[in-house]
């Protein structure tokens, strides 16, 4: 522990004149157009959090309408202006809110905010690299994401309102300007935003893959990689293979909207216009293309959360993760299967029903690797020595929500049962639990766990506990009753249920759900306060606050360019060697040689008298590295 304090005093010296450490760097190059992966990850996180706040706030606005239909709320008029005249939400804008809520949460928070943040932060740190393979592309990736967020939000200030055809934007509804107001300029902006987003995620994904494949430090073989890295790796592969298909779908949609093609349109008569001249297209084609991305996207969202959970659970249970190999194989299995199950979103869309049978078979197979993961988590907890940090609580919450939401997937993956459940609240409950809440919980677990690494400060645990319990309880209260609504046949995306007397019995439930949603939303204030205030006022982090094994905790608390002041650490064992028998400490960092003594004095990293800042070799080699990674992928030899 003496070295830790030594390091602390060392870095303290730099505290006040921080800017002098890298006198070449200006504010712009350090905080804005930064090419440092740690800064980029912070940028992703904070943008994601802001987008998340917007998304959650929207959901509360439309929940108000669902619980108290056509009642006046001042807050609605204040924020929505002409769409909330007299405090009553406009039916068209209700759909817009639903659409943008979905888009923001799925793409901007849970894809970019989660995978973008932690892939960027952890890939170089946990595999022992100075930076990403291509720091420049990494920076571009963030700025495309930022631009995309701005374009999406700007669609709120368009006269006809933002896109409102649901987050899946099925044509013809989204393709015909006259079909609904939101399909005008708002929809164009939505498409532009998504295309920018795809560019961002492809730039990031290529980078993650090449970094993981090529830039692991000495001794970090693939089977010694933390499960976080495995999950980010598979996520990036999924993104790289599926996002281009969405790009294609989006481009066709733009063509149909603006250039008069008929990819998705056929035999349409519109009120006020007459028969359109589009013939021969098929709306179902779009659904195939969309869900070819859409299903892998679900795992793009979920897998990083599962990876983070693996790390957090093993670390806090002080036990090796149970069945490391099985965990990797199940991630691989999920990744592969996710490409051939997209049809389960389309059982009753007019797709050939025989095809539905095929998709039902493969869909239910995917439950097997998911089940293996759950059982392995349980086995990891068994006979552990569990420390309930907020991160650990969120990880346990994730497993609980993953079970609850995952099991309802078995109903929806069954083509026969889907007839009744399709597009009802049952679906809403299912994906909000398994993909929405579970992934958000994974994200929170990651934030609480790696906050000391990201900002060099500690978060307040008490606030974290309050945040967890309120969020956990409200997540269940909001989404669990929705299963029953769905079973009663209550359709989703209905503006109000007062015109359908049959659904009257669910009005009380709606009120309870909305109140729980508001409580859950307000609980995030605990988090926001904890997060933003502690960046500046937080207690200083120690070198390895969670007594963790992985490499990221061997870097100095104060961020430096190139991550390690001395040479890169060398890896001697897997990342989950906790409570090894015969060892006094209950953890065994990856970078400590086996024959050495059981302390962390050995690491070169702590000798920081005058940190010699190496120019990261990666910048020079980035193109070579990139090429090499592809060569490796296709089995070519390095030239």
């Amino acid at each position: 522990m003496s070295t830790t304090s030594h390091l602390e005093t060392e870095t303290h010296g730099h505290d006040d004149h921080h800017g002098h450490e890298h006198h070449k760097e200006t504010f712009i190059s350090k905080y804005v157009f930064s090419m440092d992966h740690k800064m980029i990850s912070r940028q992703f996180l904070i943008t994601g959090i802001i987008m998340g706040c917007i998304g959650v706030f929207m959901s509360i606005l439309f929940r108000l309408q669902l619980a108290w239909p056509s009642e006046s709320f001042g807050i609605i008029e204040t924020f929505l202006g002409k769409w909330g005249k007299d405090g009553i939400l406009d039916p068209n804008f209700y759909l817009a809110l639903v659409t943008i809520h979905g888009t923001i949460m799925v793409f901007y928070v849970l894809t970019a905010g989660l995978s973008g943040t932690f892939s960027n932060l952890l890939i170089p740190l946990q595999i022992g690299a100075r930076d990403m393979a291509s720091p420049f592309m990494n920076m571009l990736s963030y700025w495309f994401f930022f631009l995309s967020s701005i374009v999406l939000i700007s669609s709120f200030f368009v006269e006809t309102g933002p896109a409102s055809a649901g987050w899946t934007v099925y044509p013809p509804l989204s393709a015909l300007e006259k079909a609904m107001p939101g399909s005008g300029l708002g929809m164009t902006l939505w498409l532009v935003a998504i295309i920018l987003f795809i560019v961002s995620s492809l730039l990031g994904g290529i980078n993650y893959i090449s970094t993981v494949l090529n830039m692991r430090t000495k001794g970090m073989s693939m089977d010694r990689m933390p499960l976080t890295i495995w999950s980010f790796f598979f996520t990036a592969v999924l993104g790289l293979l599926s996002f281009p298909v969405l790009l294609g779908a989006g481009l066709f949609l733009i063509f149909d909207r603006s250039f008069g093609t008929s990819f998705y349109l056929s035999d349409i008569y519109l009120n006020g216009i007459g028969a359109l001249d589009n013939v021969g297209g098929s709306p179902v084609l779009y659904q195939h293309l969309f869900w070819f991305l859409g299903h892998p996207e679900v795992y793009i969202i979920l897998m990083p959360a599962l990876g983070i959970t693996s790390e957090v659970i093993a670390n806090n249970a002080r036990k090796p993760i149970f069945g490391y190999t099985a965990m990797v194989i199940s991630l691989l299995g999920i990744s592969f299967l996710s490409f051939i199950v997209w049809g389960h979103h389309m059982f009753i869309t007019g797709m050939n029903p025989f095809l539905g049978t095929v998709f039902m078979f493969v869909t239910l197979i995917i439950a097997v690797p998911s089940a293996v993961k759950t059982f392995n988590y349980l086995a990891t907890l068994w006979k552990g020595n569990i420390r309930f940090t907020p991160a650990m609580l969120f990880a346990i919450g994730l497993v609980s929500l993953f079970i609850t939401g995952g099991l309802t997937g078995i109903y929806l993956g069954n083509a026969a049962l889907d007839i009744q459940l399709h597009d009802t609240y049952f679906v809403v409950a299912h994906f909000h639990l398994v993909m929405g809440s579970a992934s958000i919980f994974g994200m929170f677990a990651g934030i609480y766990h790696w906050y000391p690494k990201m900002f060099g400060k500690m978060m307040n645990n008490t606030l974290g506990y309050f945040h967890f319990w309120l969020t956990f309880i409200s997540a269940y209260v909001v989404f669990f009753p929705m299963h029953f609504m769905g079973l009663a046949g209550v359709p989703r995306r209905y503006y109000e249920f007062t015109l359908v007397p049959e659904f009257g019995i669910w009005m009380d439930v709606n009120v309870v759900i909305t109140i729980a949603a508001i409580v859950g939303g307000l609980a995030q204030v605990f988090f926001l306060y904890n997060f933003f205030v502690n960046i500046f006022k937080g207690e200083k982090a120690t070198q390895n606050p969670w007594q963790s094994n992985s490499l990221e905790w061997t870097t100095p608390v104060e961020h430096i360019h190139g991550n390690w002041p001395g040479p890169l650490p060398v890896v001697y064992r897997g990342p989950y060697e906790y409570s090894v028998p015969g060892r006094e400490l209950d953890y065994y960092p990856q970078n400590i040689p086996s024959d050495g003594e059981d302390d962390i004095h050995h690491t070169e990293t702590v000798k920081v008298d005058e940190p010699t800042i190496e120019t990261p070799t990666t910048e020079v080699d980035s193109s070579k590295v990139l090429f090499a990674s592809f060569a490796k992928l296709f089995g070519l030899n390095r030239a």
Binding site: L173, S266, P283, V368, F388, A416, F497
Partner: protein, 514 residues
């Protein structure tokens, strides 16, 4: 030092919020009376058109809105106060160096309590809301299979749910941190892992095979598919229409090209189509005339602007100026040309059908004349019914929750669903003890503003006589008009035409996309 800084920060926040609260609550406390508002209004000069004198502030609604605002701010205050308290508490803990409470233990207990309470409420949901769902309460034949399938899945998943959740929370509780114990080093066990890979695989195989059997019987191997009563269900923004084939049991052909004001389903009715063609031709020449007289239109608009200015009609001025801008930047002309192209193409497509003698005969074979168009769907109990879905504009989804029936209605594509209703409307009313209860077919695919109110009544009658009376009361929408030439054709057509299908769809007949 940090602590004091933080305190000032929170205190400022509290103060700002408090003043916000007072500001908003002021009118509620009637510090500002109606009179002063009127006086203020007078100062700004009531009477001018643009000015609206504090209308909002006097209304009762506004008061309500202020109350709500006050509540929101109060909630914010509460949270900040809580944050403040806990922040101080944790600092106190750190300063005194004494743990106020063992957080680890508290959280472990909380997890256990959560499990108990959560399981209680989950069970409560099943008991209270379970009966409100439609499980084991279906009104169709395949609904029974469906419910059995559902129950099997429910039993399997409920066992897994309870077992895993209990293990998760109980393990978390049992193995909470203890200083005296060390975690067991146990990294894998291949036998165990193979075991819990194979068990889910077996269970899922059972579910898949059963699901396959049920799905197959509902869809592509439905035994009733051949002998079912066919009804066409037509979806549009925002409503439904049903069509019955009439005495000949054959639907007349249709095309989206023929949809007009008087022929909303686009049926191949010769007289309708002829008049519609004339309309289209007139439209076409209108558009051409408009395109040729853009200059005149522009000068008209300019004159209009002047008139509006004289009348001080600012709205009118604004609108007209917008229109002028549209004309000037060419948007107006482009729109006209687009419409012209649409109409011309439509006429071309109609001409194509006429040119092809075979197709024309098949289309206008007269079977449309006894088709009946209704605003509700009536079917007979225990008799198979095949709903054939068609959409006019965008994707809708026909959803009959009581019957476990759902199918999307896709423009340019034919979809269908065959089922046997087994409970009449009267029976379900008795069962629900609700004389008002009706079956409805809802729209379940987002389709725009009035999506939530897009439904059509679905009636199941008990006896054949009831059904026949109802059918007899319906009149054909486009009955044969003249007994002359058309009648001949009707007599001849079945002999001459070798059309076997009851419905001939002009565009893309068997387009079953994959």
């Amino acid at each position: 030092m940090k602590q004091t800084q933080m305190k000032t920060f929170i205190k400022t926040g509290l103060m700002v919020l408090f003043f916000g609260f007072v500001y908003v609550a002021e009118p509620i406390l009637e510090l500002k009376t109606l009179n002063t508002e009127l006086q203020e209004a007078a100062l700004f000069g009531v009477g001018s058109d643009e000015f609206e004198p504090f209308k909002e502030a006097t209304g009762a609604e506004s008061l309500k809105s202020k109350i709500q605002w006050a509540l929101y701010i109060a909630a914010g205050l509460l949270i900040l106060v809580l944050a403040y308290v806990f922040d101080v508490a944790s600092y106190a803990q750190k300063l005194t160096g004494r743990k106020i409470a063992d957080a680890n233990k508290i959280n472990a207990w909380m997890l256990l309590i959560f499990l108990g309470v959560g399981m209680y409420f989950a069970a409560w949901e099943f008991v209270v809301h379970g009966p409100e769902t439609k499980v084991y309460n279906s009104s169709s034949e395949h609904g029974v299979d469906y419910d059995n399938m559902f129950m099997i899945t429910l039993i399997f998943t409920a066992i897994v749910f309870v077992a895993t959740q209990v293990l998760l929370f109980v393990y978390s509780f049992m193995y909470k941190k203890s200083e005296t114990r060390k975690a067991t080093y146990y990294s894998h066990n291949n036998k165990l892992e193979v075991f819990w890979t194979i068990i889910p695989a077996i269970v899922l195989t059972i579910l898949v095979l059963r699901g396959y059997a049920v799905w197959k019987n509902i869809t592509y191997e439905n035994p009733n598919s051949k002998n079912a009563q066919e009804i066409e269900v037509f979806a549009y923004q925002f409503g439904w229409t049903a069509r019955y084939p009439g005495a000949d049991n054959k639907f007349g052909a249709h095309s989206f090209n023929y949809i007009s004001g008087t022929n909303s389903l686009g049926l191949a009715v010769e007289s309708e189509v002829e008049t519609f063609k004339e309309e289209l031709k007139k439209d076409t020449s209108d558009y051409i005339a408009k395109i040729n007289s853009i200059d005149t239109y522009l000068s008209e608009l300019n004159a209009k602007v002047k008139d509006f200015k004289k009348l001080a009609n600012f709205k009118g001025v604004e609108d007209t100026e917008k229109e002028i801008a549209r004309v000037l930047n060419g948007e107006y002309k482009m729109d006209l040309e687009l419409m012209l192209r649409r109409r011309t193409k439509q006429l071309e497509r109609m001409a194509l059908v006429e040119m092809n003698k075979e197709e024309y005969k098949a289309t206008f074979n007269g079977s449309v004349h006894d088709d009946m168009i209704t605003k509700e769907i009536v079917v007979l109990k225990n008799k198979p019914v095949k709903l054939k879905f068609r959409s006019r504009d965008i994707i809708h989804s026909a959803f009959l929750p009581d019957f476990r029936v759902q199918m999307n209605c896709v423009p340019g594509m034919n979809t269908e669903f065959t089922f046997v209703p087994t409970k009449s409307t009267d029976e379900i009313r008795k069962e629900k003890n609700n004389e008002e209860y009706n079956y409805y077919l809802y729209c379940n695919k987002i389709c725009g503003q009035a999506h939530f109110n897009m439904k059509i009544k679905f009636v199941v009658v008990e006896t054949e006589t009831e059904y026949k009376t109802w059918i007899a009361a319906q009149k054909p929408a486009y009955p044969m008009q003249l007994p002359g030439s058309e009648k001949e054709e009707e007599i001849n057509s079945p002999v001459e035409n070798q059309v076997e299908e009851s419905v001939v769809i002009i565009q893309s007949n068997n387009k079953k996309s994959i």
